[in-house]
Each structure stands twice: as structure tokens, then as C-alpha cells.
């Protein structure tokens, strides 16, 4: 019978509610470092910076590569470099602290435990992020691990890497636009109206899709799905019900406001060019 003071084989910490959120800039940085890795190096290793919130979500917001030496059975990390870089980063943003480390490659490899131990001294329970730059399985796999200790009573036996849920915070990348980040070369940044145009096109496409779906359901081609139906009705209900007259007034007023602003700005511009002409002409006295 297991009694509390009996030595038991257990994992520590038992279960974790840790999860990680990676910002796209980190992925970009890792990829860039990998592309620029030294000759003959097979992977890059680096430090992850970010913050840890109380509910156990690790925000990984920044990273830097640390030079290292991979030999057959050991890894030598340039610790001085790591500390220098950390100091520099902290000067800019003191809120970012070490949260873990990254390595390229698929999953955890042999030397990982050693490096992980080093980072455990820097921060409690570091996160280990692996980015598969080799596309081993034909897909981009990015994984986060934490180390779990296997101990027999007081005695530590081994450490095990346990995968934790990872969320890619793509909102930042979305703000910039995937069109820009996806291609290897973009000739021109979209301006206000071009961006608007593509957004409208997408909106139209989405509305079209909804129409098609509804039509299909009505005609009985597709089995109706209640949850989608509820979504659609929620969306339609979220449009405020305004009487046509009030709505017209609202739209027209705003239109007038904007037209006035446009008028004002053109007036200013005319004024500017006029002033310039006068200023240079006034010289001939």
C-alpha cells in the first residue's frame, strides 16, 4: 500500500498548465539566424525572451542566437555572449526576461538536456522551442517543451521533455499582411486604397460564400448545420435596426463631414502652393 512517506516514483512537476505563445518576429528571427548560420553548423541555438503571466502562459516575444559548438556528444555554448546580449536587450526593454531557449531541428535532440539544464539556472522551468527548419515531415513543425523531472523520492533519476500547447500569435503578422510576409519579393507596399480594395474583395467573397451556403441549404443540397445557422443569424442580428430615414441621415452626415475635411485639405494645399509662389516672387523687390 502506498503511504505518503513511502518513496514513490514520480514526475515533478506533476502536471503543468503551462502554455506558450510565440510571436511571429521570433520565428522570423530564428529562420534568419538559421539562414545565416556558420559554415558546417547544422543548427542554431538561442535564447528566448518574453514574459510569464500568472496563469502560466509564456509569451515569447523576442529572441537572439547564441553561438555554440556541436561536437559528437557535447555542446559548448558561448555563455559570455549570452550574458552580453541579455544585458543589451534588457537595456532596451527591461520587462523582457529569459523564458527559455530555442533550437532548430525536429523535436528534442541528444544535447538538449544539457542546454536545458543551463537555462534552468537562469530561469525556473524554461521553455524549449524547436523549429523544424528542415521540414522533416514535409510540414513546418514548431513545438514547445518543458522539462519534467522523474524522481524516486528525493533522488532525481532523469528528466523528460514534455510537449506543451503552443499558440502562434499570428495577429501581429496579420496586421502587416500575409501578402507581404509570404512572398520572397514584394515590389511595392499597398497604400490605403489598395488595401481597402483587397479587403472589400475578401468581404464580398465571404458574403458570396454565405449566400451560396444558405441557398444550398434551402434547396436541400447540403444538410443544414445548426451552429452555422446560428452564427449567420447572430451576425445579421448584430446589424442595428435603424429606420431608413435615420440611417440615411447618419450616412449622409458622416459623408458630409468627410467631404468637408477633404475640401479643407485641398484648400490648405492650394494655400500652400500659392504661398510658395508669393514667397519666391516677393524676392524681386
Amino acid at each position: 500500500m502506498a503511504t505518503p512517506d513511502q518513496t514513490v516514483l514520480q514526475f515533478f512537476p506533476l502536471s503543468t498548465s503551462l502554455s506558450a505563445k510565440v510571436h511571429p518576429v521570433v520565428i522570423f528571427n530564428i529562420c534568419d539566424c538559421y539562414v545565416r548560420r556558420p559554415h558546417q553548423a547544422e543548427r542554431v541555438i538561442g535564447t528566448l525572451l518574453g514574459s510569464i503571466s500568472f496563469d502560466g502562459v509564456v509569451q515569447i516575444t523576442n529572441s537572439y542566437a547564441v553561438p555554440h559548438n556541436d561536437s559528437l556528444d557535447q555542446v559548448a555554448l558561448d555563455i559570455d555572449y549570452h550574458h552580453n546580449m541579455l544585458l543589451s536587450h534588457q537595456k532596451v526593454n527591461p520587462k523582457e526576461v529569459i523564458v527559455g531557449w530555442y533550437s532548430t531541428g525536429f523535436g528534442v535532440s541528444g544535447g538538449s538536456a544539457l542546454i536545458h539544464e543551463f537555462y534552468s539556472k537562469e530561469v525556473q522551468n524554461p521553455v524549449h522551442l524547436t523549429v523544424d527548419t528542415g521540414f522533416k515531415n514535409g510540414e513546418a513543425s514548431i513545438k514547445a517543451f518543458i522539462s519534467v523531472n522523474l524522481s524516486l523520492g528525493e533522488k532525481q533519476l532523469a528528466a523528460q521533455f514534455q510537449e506543451i500547447p503552443l499558440d502562434l500569435r499570428m495577429i501581429e503578422a496579420e496586421r502587416v499582411g500575409f501578402d507581404i510576409l509570404k512572398k520572397t519579393m514584394v515590389d511595392k507596399l499597398p497604400n490605403d486604397l489598395e488595401g481597402m480594395e483587397s479587403t472589400m474583395e475578401r468581404l464580398l467573397a465571404v458574403i458570396d460564400d454565405v449566400y451560396k451556403y444558405v441557398d444550398n441549404v434551402v434547396e436541400g443540397n447540403i444538410a443544414p448545420d445548426n451552429s452555422i445557422g446560428r452564427f449567420i443569424s447572430d451576425t445579421i442580428a448584430s446589424i442595428p435596426k435603424i429606420s431608413p430615414a435615420a440611417f440615411d441621415k447618419l450616412i449622409n452626415d458622416t459623408l458630409q463631414d468627410h467631404l468637408l475635411l477633404l475640401y479643407l485639405s485641398s484648400l490648405t494645399r492650394t494655400q500652400l502652393s500659392l504661398a510658395e509662389k508669393l514667397n519666391t516672387a516677393a524676392q524681386i523687390l
Binding site: V25, F28, E174
Partner: protein
């Protein structure tokens, strides 16, 4: 040996001819740099921050391949020296991981595009001293909330730099150079490049949803706060400009007053001379530099008014852009509502 000498010389000659490089046409930025700049500027917004751009200068293209942020500047001198150390340290560290170790300019954040200041020009001149070709990238975090990637690459035009070095912004000089306020800054088109690896990752990781955050931002109906502040700034600038113009008016009034004084003095002198001639005396000189009315009135510099004009036209552009966007949106809403 004899063969080698002409070879080296010709190589040197080649290098020398390369020196007269083609003008900068395109700034090619890595996606990584864009994300880094945005991250830094957003984190500290609304405080304005700066950072260094690293990259390569290849012919008419300036490649920006990496960047690092500067700590927020303090007035303390000791800390300033610290900042220089930081910069060197960072460059050294980045070189160790094979990042391009070549400064090509700097980036800075701005509030509603109010970046056209004398400080910017000074910083640019400082950079220009050391780097032949440099660029300033400006990012506006306030505009990105509307789904616009407000990124701009600027440089000072050559003719303006020449003029700035001589520090002479009189109207005559400007007319001679044919320089108007539009010619101070040159905007350089931005290209974005990504390594194949990043491109592959992004294609993999892109969410399947047809609507992105950017679309939500763009379709947001409320632009009032943005417009309000824009117009506010515009009005402030107009006030400044009218102040500058008053200065000029004052100057011209002084000038014309002085000229009439000079004329009358000259007439008096001439009449006197005629009288002296008639009396057989030596005529007095027609110019007298000791007389205070011949002292030239200093002309106020036109730099400030040029910069303000630039600023105003920038606000006008922004208002036009946003108004155009919201007009679109309004018609869209109308159409949706009617449907």
C-alpha cells in the same frame, strides 16, 4: 610582378569608378526588419523610439537585412556614452552570428506623421557624414490600427544637403537652386524581401480563415479620433506657418523701409554733391558703409517654414487618404444595409 602591378591598378581603377555609384532607387527590407521595427515601436508607443538599421549597399538598391533598437534616450551624459557602448556591443554581438555588420541608417517611430523636424535633418546629416548612403525608415504605429502599413523610407535630397551644409537658406539661394519645400525629403520606394525559408514557414502557418486582423482593422467605421487629431495638428501647423510668414512680412517691411531710406539718403547726397561741384569742391563718396541704414537686414531662414509646409502637406495627404478610405466604407455600409 610587372604583370601584377597594372592588374592591381586596374582593379583599383575599377573600384574608383564604382565609387561614383548610381543613385539610390529602392530600399529592400526584410520582413524580419519590418516585424522588429513594428514590435519595438508598438511596445513603446506613444513614446517615440529609434533604432539602427543594418544591411548592405548593393548598387542602386539598399538592402536592410537586420536592425536593433536603441534604449530610450536619456539626457544624462553618462548614459549617452553608455548608449554608444551599447551600440558597439550590439553590433559586435550581431556580427558574431553573421548578421550584416554595416549601418545603413536608422528607423524611428512617429505620431501621425509628425516627423519633419530639424532634429531629423540633423541626425540624417550626422549619419551621412559616416555612411555615404543612408536611409531613414519611419513607422507610424497610430496609423497601423487602421490596417495600413505606415512604413516610409526617406532620405534628404542631394541639393538640399548641399544647401544645408552651407547653412544658407535665403530666398535667393533657394531660387538659384530651384529648391522648393517638396524637394527636401525624397521618399524611396520600399521593396520587401523574405528568405525562401521564411516564405515557406509563413505559407505553412498562415491561418485558413479568409479574413485577417488587417481586414477587421480596415473595416472599422470609426475614424473620428484619428481625424480629429490630424486636423488638430494641421491647425497647429497652420498657426506656426502664419507665424513664420509674419516673420517674413516683418523682414520685407524692414527691407523696403531701409531701401527708401537709402534712396532718400542717396538723393540728398547727390544734391549735396552737385552743390559742392558748383562750389568747386571734391564730391563726397556716394556710399557710406558706416551709416547704419546700409547695414544689411538679416534674412530669416526659410528652413522652418519649409519644414512646416512639408508637415502640413503630409497631414493633408493623411486626411485625404483616410477620408477616401472612410468614404469607401460608408458606401459599403450603405450598400450592405440596403441589401
Amino acid at each position: 610582378m610587372a604583370n601584377a602591378a597594372p592588374m592591381t591598378r586596374s582593379f583599383l581603377q575599377v573600384a574608383a569608378t564604382e565609387e561614383v555609384a548610381s543613385p539610390l532607387r529602392v530600399v529592400q527590407i526584410e520582413g524580419l526588419v519590418i516585424l522588429k521595427i513594428i514590435k519595438h515601436c508598438k511596445e513603446f508607443s506613444p513614446a517615440l523610439v529609434t533604432g539602427q538599421l543594418l544591411g548592405l549597399d548593393v548598387g542602386s538598391v539598399l538592402e536592410v537585412t537586420n536592425c536593433f533598437p536603441f534604449p530610450i534616450r536619456e539626457e544624462d551624459e553618462e548614459i549617452e556614452a553608455d548608449g554608444a557602448n551599447y551600440q558597439l556591443e550590439m553590433m559586435r554581438c550581431l556580427r558574431e552570428v553573421n548578421v550584416d555588420n554595416n549601418t545603413v541608417g536608422w528607423y524611428q517611430s512617429t505620431l501621425l506623421g509628425s516627423f519633419q523636424t530639424v532634429e531629423l535633418i540633423e541626425t540624417f546629416m550626422n549619419y551621412q557624414e559616416n555612411i555615404r548612403r543612408c536611409v531613414c525608415i519611419i513607422y507610424d504605429p497610430s496609423r497601423s490600427n487602421q490596417g495600413v502599413l505606415a512604413l516610409k523610407a526617406l532620405k534628404l535630397s542631394d541639393s538640399f544637403m548641399e544647401l544645408y551644409r552651407s547653412n544658407n537658406f535665403s530666398g535667393e539661394k533657394l531660387r538659384e537652386k530651384n529648391l522648393s519645400w517638396v524637394d527636401i525629403f525624397e521618399e524611396i520606394p520600399i521593396k520587401v524581401s523574405n528568405s525562401a525559408l521564411i516564405s515557406a514557414f509563413m505559407t505553412e502557418l498562415e491561418a485558413d480563415t479568409p479574413v485577417t486582423q488587417c481586414d477587421y482593422d480596415r473595416l472599422h467605421l470609426s475614424t473620428k479620433p484619428f481625424m480629429e487629431r490630424n486636423v488638430e495638428f494641421l491647425i497647429e501647423c497652420m498657426d506656426d506657418l502664419s507665424m513664420e510668414q509674419q516673420k517674413f512680412q516683418f523682414y520685407y517691411r524692414n527691407l523696403s523701409r531701409q531701401q527708401t531710406q537709402q534712396q532718400s539718403w542717396l538723393q540728398k547726397r547727390r544734391a549735396e554733391n552737385i552743390a559742392r561741384k558748383a562750389a568747386g569742391e571734391e564730391p563726397l563718396p556716394e556710399e557710406d558703409s558706416s551709416n547704419p541704414i546700409f547695414k544689411p537686414v538679416p534674412e530669416p531662414s526659410r528652413l522652418d517654414s519649409f519644414l512646416i509646409t512639408n508637415q502640413i502637406s503630409n497631414y493633408c495627404n493623411q486626411i485625404n487618404g483616410v477620408a477616401g478610405q472612410s468614404l469607401n466604407r460608408l458606401y459599403l455600409t450603405k450598400a450592405l444595409h440596403e441589401n
